[in-house]
């Protein structure tokens, strides 16, 4: 039943027997999942279960940490990302972090086009203006900042900063955006705004979101993967996983028995 639903979607990203960790200790143990294109996929699990490490393997940020190791395959449109140039790969897979991290030396405007500027891409002024406005409208920040585009991004509130960071990732027109608990440092109101924004991106871009917030995964995701102790316990449509979990551990986690 689950397989038929998944096969109705086209896969954009696939991991095959992904094993990753630090100092010879595996944190992610043999995870194979297929992420459907244009959907929101939540990676859910208790703290320290390896979900962030799993996600950082997708855009090869994991290997930047000293003594990190990874085996297995990650396929983006069927291409093994470990055979691609990591720099080019990361332009195709955007990432948003737990804590908002706009570039402190740059204005709001420059933060949005930072991906272009820092890579030395020369854009015509009109193109840059267009990208900035489009992207800021996309993340519903335009009306709030259009009069202060040249102020530093760090003057914004936490929620605004996080939307700016999402804009920075979206401006590169990535195929996938990885969100690493993007609301964990925000208050409930800012969280709601970000959730609404994520849902509005459905169909525009594929989203993979790590969260340890169970209700959030239920609210916004189309598919959910539940990871526990580095292993993939269950993966399927969010509705199915939340209402009729197949694995006993999923049921226990959802009912708050651990995690």
């Amino acid at each position: 039943m689950e397989d038929t639903i998944l096969s109705a979607e086209s896969t954009i990203l696939e991991t095959r027997h992904l094993v990753a960790g630090f100092d010879g200790k595996d944190v992610v143990k043999d995870i194979s999942i297929a992420v459907p294109a244009g959907r929101i996929t939540a990676i859910m699990g208790p703290s320290g279960c390896g979900k962030t490490t799993f996600m950082r393997c997708i855009n090869r940020m994991h290997e930047l940490v000293a003594n990190a190791q990874v085996t297995g395959q990650v396929l983006l449109d069927g291409e093994d990302v470990y055979k691609l140039n990591p720099i080019l790969l990361r332009r195709r897979i955007g990432m948003v972090f737990q804590r908002p991290n706009p570039f402190p030396t740059m204005s709001i405007y420059d933060n949005v086009v930072a991906g272009y500027n820092l890579n030395g891409a020369r854009l015509a002024r009109v193109d840059r203006d267009r990208i900035v406005e489009e992207t800021l409208r996309r993340v519903t920040l335009w009306d709030e900042v259009k009069d202060s585009l040249y102020r530093r991004g760090t003057f914004l509130s936490g929620g605004q900063q996080q939307r700016l960071c999402i804009a920075r990732a979206l401006a590169m027109k990535p195929e996938i955006v990885l969100l690493d608990e993007p609301t964990s440092a925000l208050d409930p109101k800012a969280t709601a705004a970000i959730e609404e924004l994520i849902v509005s991106l459905k169909g525009v871009v594929t989203i993979v979101q790590v969260t340890h917030n169970i209700p959030q995964a239920a609210r916004i995701s189309d598919y959910t993967a539940f990871i526990h102790l580095g292993e993939l316990v269950e993966f399927g449509p969010t509705k199915t996983l939340f209402t009729v979990p197949r694995d006993k551990r999923t049921e226990e986690y959802l009912s708050g028995k651990f995690g």
Partner: protein, 291 residues
């Protein structure tokens, strides 16, 4: 305080003891902080009183007069100090900043540890020893004293200050900033040059200015490198006058006129160093980056 004593309800003895302790401690901190500023204040007052009187346009713009003639200035020493500091800065800033970047990036590697120990040791070497080194390396082969050798000996003094302050500054920059750039597909060198360095700019400039202030006041290594020169020169291959060296020569001379000149030169040097320190403070507060 007064109204507590009579009308307010009496404090619990234990609380009263804590309040007293608090008061004593605060008073102690205040007094000791004041004591710490006394040496600086004394030096300032002393130099201003003795030196300011000899400061006038002639003093700044003219060359020293031969013994016996009244007047004369120290323009050669002012120009000399500026040139020496420029030579030292040109050499030590690129090396120091690059070494600081290396230490902050790969400080835990074997080479990083060796580099850090070397730099810290260099920091502890007395400046007169660095002067001798510059003497043996440059003055002896060249056959005569030169501003170049003086500038290089100052560079050796400034190098560790710049390196360590750059490293310290860059280590304070949050990892998340670097990840933000890398996750956008920015290459490692560009991440360092265009994200990490600008974010640490105020700290790096502070380190450079402090190093300059230190280098400008050094005397010992200049004794056998740039030596001194009663005439104006801008040729860095020739011996060159400098403020610290001028102070040394004039102050140790038996002539009261020259000793007055020494006080004036000390005043000028003090003004330069104080200005640098104040500019440093301004840079730190104005360019402070909030993460």
């Amino acid at each position: 305080m007064k109204k507590n004593g009579a009308s307010a309800p009496r404090l619990d003895p234990a609380v009263a003891a804590r309040v007293r302790g608090d008061f004593v401690f605060r008073a102690l901190v205040l007094v000791l902080s004041l004591v710490a500023t006394i040496p600086l204040l004394l030096i300032l007052v002393f130099i201003i009183v003795r030196g300011a009187s000899s400061i006038n346009w002639q003093f700044i713009s003219e060359l020293p007069k031969p013994m016996g003639e009244p007047g004369g200035g120290i323009s050669n020493a002012i120009v000399g100090t500026l040139l020496l500091v420029i030579i030292a800065t040109v050499v030590s800033v690129p090396l120091g900043v690059i070494a600081g970047i290396f230490l902050s990036e790969h400080g835990k590697s074997r080479l990083g540890n060796v580099a850090r120990i070397s730099v810290e040791t260099l920091m502890g070497i007395p400046s007169i020893v660095l002067g001798i080194v510059a003497y043996v390396w440059i003055v002896r082969p060249m056959g005569h004293f030169s501003a170049l050798s003086g500038g290089l000996s100052l560079a050796m003094i400034m190098l560790p200050v710049i390196t360590l302050s750059t490293e310290e500054t860059l280590l304070m920059i949050p990892l998340t900033l670097r990840e933000a750039a890398l996750a956008l597909g920015v290459s490692y060198p560009r991440t360092i040059l265009r994200v990490i360095l600008p974010a640490g700019m105020s700290g790096i400039i502070t380190g450079i200015l402090l190093a300059v202030a230190r280098g400008a006041g050094e005397t010992a290594p200049l004794l056998f490198t740039s030596f001194g020169n009663p005439f104006m020169t801008v040729n860095i291959l020739k011996p060159m006058a400098s403020l610290p060296h001028t102070i040394f020569t004039y102050a140790t001379s038996p002539y009261p006129e020259w000793q007055t000149l020494a006080w004036g030169a000390a005043f000028v040097l003090l003004v330069i160093v104080l200005t640098l320190n104040i500019v440093t403070k301004l840079v730190t507060s104005r360019w402070k980056i909030q993460f």
